[in-house]
């Protein structure tokens, strides 16, 4: 079996938003829709302050609350763990957006573009009517993974088979791979580092691990 997961090393991430930008390019998301982004978080009080940059997005849970509430079976889970949305089945009810503990789902009802109602040449080329009025979120770049693995490439190792955000990360904070393969890069990272998962108490068993070395 394969289960794809992502790791984010909080010691490495500088919050530069290169992953945010690369995700927007790859997935042609409309303005203000960011399937991947990095939060800029402060903890503590002056002068004992920690400032942390935290990549967020769909956590590709093993037990995804969004899927359980989906009345149309649009949200599903692949054998490799990636949580998917079938835009043709989605009725846009938005239950999943409420159910997601990670605030990772979006819905855009009307076409919107960077500079008003008129799309640029790129936006016109890449605009997808099928994504209007339905839920959308990070896909772990499943298309890239499928195209890459079809060519015999390894997700997380070969850029052509790896999510765009991971490819783009200039701090090598984001990594991707098969957690079921004990020799994969993510398995090794998880073996060597302390880590946590977001809202672990909810039992969602996320496919997104935060590497975190307490100072």
């Amino acid at each position: 079996m394969t289960r794809y997961v992502m790791t984010a090393d909080l010691n490495r991430c500088v919050g530069c938003q290169t992953c945010t930008a690369a995700c927007k390019h790859t997935n042609a998301t409309p303005p203000e829709i960011q399937w991947r982004k990095v939060l800029d978080v402060e903890m503590g009080e002056f002068p004992d302050v920690e400032r942390i940059f935290m990549p967020v997005g769909c956590q590709h849970c093993a037990d995804p609350p969004c899927m359980h509430v989906c009345p149309s079976q649009a949200t599903a889970q692949r054998d490799d763990g990636i949580v998917t949305i079938d835009y043709d089945l989605c009725i846009g009810c938005g239950y999943c957006m409420v159910a997601c503990p990670y605030d990772a789902r979006y819905k855009v009802d009307e076409a919107r573009f960077a500079y008003g109602k008129k799309p640029s040449l790129t936006e016109a080329l890449r605009h997808d009517e099928g994504r209007l009025g339905v839920a959308q979120k990070c896909t772990f770049c499943a298309d890239r993974i499928d195209e890459g693995t079809a060519k015999g490439l390894t997700p997380g190792v070969d850029p052509e088979a790896t999510p765009a955000c991971v490819n783009s990360c200039i701090a090598n904070a984001l990594q991707f791979g098969d957690i079921e393969d004990e020799n994969s890069n993510v398995s090794e990272l998880l073996a060597e580092n302390t880590y946590f998962q977001m809202h672990e108490e909810l039992g969602t068993e996320t496919g997104f691990y935060y590497l975190w070395n307490e100072k």
Binding site: C16, K24, E45, I85, L125
Partner: protein, 917 residues
């Protein structure tokens, strides 16, 4: 669940190119093009073995696709119809043709040439301004050839350089270790002390990548800064130092190293043989010299007597006082003293005495940093220096000293910066951690020679030190001509005489003189007859920006190469659309070592190419230069400049000849094809010649570059040279001679600046200095401005010229402070200011408004405005309602340091206001 519609695609390709939107470029990227339309940017994965950060690209290039298709672009040449210029005047833009526009420029430029290249004051009649630390030249095609063919031009009308740069680090860094910019040997460093150096936002891809690796490796980084920056967030320890007290902390650390440790605990061998520490200092402050050879003397412990510094096999004394029977001392203008039986000490002893009173307890009072913390960090620095250890690079055994002190902007420029850059470099020297593996390194030379070959600039100068091209200050050779409106070579002799020297010195002086506010004994300069503005927006990016617009409105003929309308081209007579990043062609050098952390083990050339056809009437800058050269009547000289190397490499050498016929116009592709061939031939010693088509397909070509070239120490030692530290005899002499020359010519308004030319810089209380300057020059009380208003680097925006891009705004908004003013949450509560409330920030010269963003990672006496905003004209940007500190930073001669720079900060007052309409 496809992310994209399955539309049939006729033609999809990935095109390699580069991004050079900041000094940390070039980033190597590919752009996906679908049916002729650019769609997305990716790293050039093919470069992952050659590039020091796996060929990754920064966030800014992802804005380039939207930049092409931005509906607010100027896509047709535009001519002003309203002769009245002013912020509130409508320029009355009308479309014109390239032909008409170029003819108009040619007419003005020909008339200028006929009048003479220099005006009655000796200032160039033609001026050219750009920004981005000259990175726009990586987009400007053959512009250097045009400027070279034209003759003298003025580039003193700065867009922010010398204020918004590392000015003192540039000057002194290059003097001391060929380090126009300074960095740790990050791959090997173990302990870094930073004073506001925001490298994780300013250092580009390679710096972020290497720093992340260093953190993963477990290095220590101590960050002194008043506001917890992106880089501070990643540091081991944040020390919230009081603003502008860095010098005190650095002096206290010197005190700890020199007075709380014996000389044996320092790198005594390095000090004796690789620095000026053993040079004997005579009673008037200059070196004690041998009467015969005039060489500086050292005290040789083996013979227990004075010998010239370069005597073989000596054991130089570092500490102690000595009586020298007979010697001379040579001061300014060759004033010579003869000394008999004089008692002298070493430069090292002078250094020790200089910081004797600067205890950690003294600095704690000034800086708000506990003495124990200062002492601990200084001792950790010494301990981490690994004195005695070695590291082998390319078979050569070198000292290994994995410690560095780095400085950030507004610490390493303006008043106090000399103290800071000097003290931190002396700290490096004391532990032998300068230009050796693990230690503090330079990466670029600009003042002393070609920026792509730093080692070529290491050769002997005076007194056993490296050569440095000070402009002459002696009576015989002093150049009285200003050359440019900021008189850079005259007022600030350290700027040298290179192609880029005009970008240094004091660009503030140029604007202040045009406003009649500086250099009162000199005639007020005339505005340039013709002014070109390229890829910059000084109305937004300089200081006291409202007055800058008033100055520009007086300029008779201004040509702006315009991307959108903005706050500077609002004053222009012509706006011309250039083919931008993804629309035009240029070949440039890549690799080697460059700027903040660009250290490669490869060097070569990379192509920027026409990824997509230019939009509208936008034209390749090389085409524009061709046409200007032809119409102005300097085509042959222009082509000659291309042939001799203005595009980065000569087209003809003894080994190859790709030179162009100088009498005809060559299309850009023809020019760059020749450059590609020359560059590849040079790179491979003639073994391979690659044309433009080859580079268009492959993107770049490199050969190995040895990492031994990252370190200057071996080159220095091989030539028997020493670092010119700690004592600054040459600075003292140059300053005194400059004072003599200026006084002989009736100039006394530069006297305060001349005080900075000290052999050992005196610590200054900069908070007091600011208060005094404010109260002296403005009708205000210093106590009315209790805050320091600071800026912080925005990686997403810096130097990108991308403020009009929605895409960049969107992603940058995830980083705190991009949409308002950062203020300490507790302080805000005290002032009745809540999150999102509107604040008015005032300084002695202006007011700005923005929304409060409450944070804990900021001192209570500091507010921060990130980046440079405050737009009132640029589409999209003007609706952001984000303030800029540039409108509030006063421009006044009193703020200019000895080399003409001032800081990018101001004292300020804060109050809550009702929401602005």
């Amino acid at each position: 669940m496809s992310a994209r519609p399955e539309t049939p695609v006729k033609n999809k390709k990935k095109v390699p190119t580069y991004c050079y939107q900041c000094v940390n470029g070039p980033d190597l990227l590919t752009v996906e093009v679908v049916d002729g339309i650019a769609t997305q940017v990716e790293p050039n994965f093919a470069a992952n073995k050659d590039h020091p950060a796996e060929g990754k690209v920064c966030v800014k290039p992802y804005g380039l696709v939207q930049k092409v298709y931005n509906p607010h672009r100027i896509l047709t040449p535009m001519r002003r119809t309203n002769p009245k210029k002013g912020r509130h005047e409508d320029p009355g833009w009308v479309e014109t043709t390239w032909d008409e526009a170029l003819d108009l420029i040619a007419e003005k430029m020909k008339a200028t040439r006929e009048k003479g290249l220099l005006d009655e004051n000796g200032d160039p009649r033609f001026a050219f301004t750009t920004g981005g630390a000259a990175t726009p030249f990586y987009y400007a095609g053959t512009l250097s050839a045009f400027l070279g063919a034209w003759g003298p031009y003025d580039n003193s009308l700065g867009a922010g350089g010398t204020v918004k740069c590392y000015h003192s680090e540039h000057m002194y860094g290059e003097l001391w270790h060929k380090a126009f910019t300074v960095m740790p040997d990050t791959p090997r460093a173990q302990y870094v002390i930073s004073f506001g150096n925001n490298i994780d936002a300013s250092g580009g891809v390679t710096a972020v990548y290497r720093q992340a690796n260093a953190r993963a490796r477990g290095w220590t980084r101590i960050q002194f800064e008043p506001h917890l920056s992106v880089t501070g967030a990643k540091a081991t320890e944040w020390v919230p130092i009081k603003t502008k007290t860095d010098g005190a902390v650095l002096y206290a650390m010197l005190h700890v190293l020199l007075h709380e440790h014996s000389a044996d605990e320092l790198d005594i061998n390095f000090l004796k043989h690789t620095t000026s520490s053993p040079y004997l200092v005579a009673p008037n402050g200059y070196y004690l010299r041998d009467p015969e050879t005039k060489k500086p003397l050292i005290w040789d412990l083996q013979i227990n007597g004075p010998v010239p510094f370069d005597t073989p096999n000596t054991d130089p004394a570092i500490e102690g006082s000595f009586v020298v029977p007979h010697a001379i001392e040579v001061g300014a203008d060759d004033e010579t003293w003869t000394h008999t039986d004089t008692s002298v000490t070493t430069a090292h002893e002078k250094l020790k005495a200089h910081v004797r009173e600067n205890t950690p307890e003294w600095a704690a009072e000034i800086s708000d940093v506990p003495a124990d913390t200062l002492r601990r960090i200084a001792n950790e620095f010494l301990g981490a220096a690994c004195i005695g250890e070695t590291h082998e690079v390319e078979g050569r055994v070198l000292p290994f000293r994995p410690v560095t002190v780095v400085l950030g902007k507004s610490v390493n420029n303006g008043w106090g910066a000399y103290e800071c850059v000097w003290a931190r470099t002396v700290m490096q020297v004391l532990v032998g951690a300068l230009e050796v593996p693990g230690g503090m390194l330079g990466s670029t030379t600009i003042i002393s020679g070609p920026d792509w070959d730093r080692m070529a600039n290491v050769f002997p100068g005076e007194d056993g030190f490296m050569h440095f091209p000070f402009n002459p200050t002696d009576k015989e050779n002093w150049l009285q001509a200003n050359e440019m409106r900021h008189a850079h070579k005259l007022l600030t002799p350290m700027v040298g005489d290179s192609m880029f020297s005009g970008l240094f010195g004091s660009t503030s002086i140029a604007w202040l003189r045009l406003q009649g506010r500086a250099a009162e004994s000199w005639a007020k300069p005339q505005p340039p007859d013709v002014w070109f503005v390229y890829k910059c927006n000084p109305s937004i990016s300089f200081s006291e920006t409202s007055r800058l617009g008033e100055s520009m409105a007086q300029f008779p003929f201004m040509v702006s190469f315009a991307y959108t309308e903005d706050e500077t081209n609002h004053f222009a007579d012509l706006m011309l659309p250039e083919a931008i990043d993804l629309e035009s062609t240029q070949l440039i050098r890549v690799g080697g070592q460059h700027y903040f952390e660009q250290q490669w083990e490869a060097e070569g050339w990379v192509l920027r190419q026409k990824v997509v056809e230019p939009q509208g009437e936008a034209r390749d800058f090389s085409w524009i230069c061709n046409e200007l050269a032809r119409r102005v009547g300097i085509l042959e000289a222009y082509n000659d400049m291309i042939n001799v190397g203005a595009c980065g490499i000569p087209l003809k050498t003894d080994s190859y000849d790709y030179s162009l016929d100088p009498t005809t116009v060559h299309e850009p592709d023809v020019i760059w094809d020749a450059v590609c061939k020359a560059a590849s031939a040079d790179l491979t010693d003639g073994k391979e010649v690659n044309d433009l088509e080859w580079f268009q397909e492959k993107g770049y070509k490199v050969r190995p570059f040895s990492s031994i070239n990252w370190y200057l120490y071996p080159k220095l030692v091989d030539q028997g040279l020493r670092f010119e530290l700690p004592y600054q005899e040459r600075i003292l002499r140059v300053g005194q001679q400059l004072a003599n020359r200026l006084h002989e010519n009736g100039v006394d308004w530069w006297d305060t600046q001349l005080e900075e030319y000290e052999a050992l810089p005196t610590w200054k209380d900069l908070n007091k200095l600011w208060d005094n300057i404010i109260e002296k020059n403005y009708d205000v009380k210093a106590t009315d401005f209790p805050f320091w208003l600071l800026s912080a680097r925005s990686m997403q925006y810096a130097w990108g010229g991308n403020t009009s891009l929605q895409f960049i705004h969107e992603v940058a908004s995830n980083v705190a402070g991009h949409d308002g003013i950062l203020i300490n949450a507790n302080k805000a509560a005290e002032l009745g200011i809540g999150e999102g409330d509107w604040m008015e920030v005032s300084s002695p010269v202006g007011k700005a408004h923005g929304q409060a963003r409450l944070r804990q990672g900021i001192r209570e006496d500091v507010i921060v405005m990130i980046g440079q905003f405050g737009h009132w004209k640029m589409p999209f940007a003007k609706d952001l309602k984000v303030p800029s500190l540039n409108a509030l930073v006063p421009m006044h001669p009193d703020f200019l340091d000895g080399h003409g720079s001032s800081i990018d900060a101001t004292k300020a007052a804060v109050k809550k206001v009702e929401k602005l309409v």
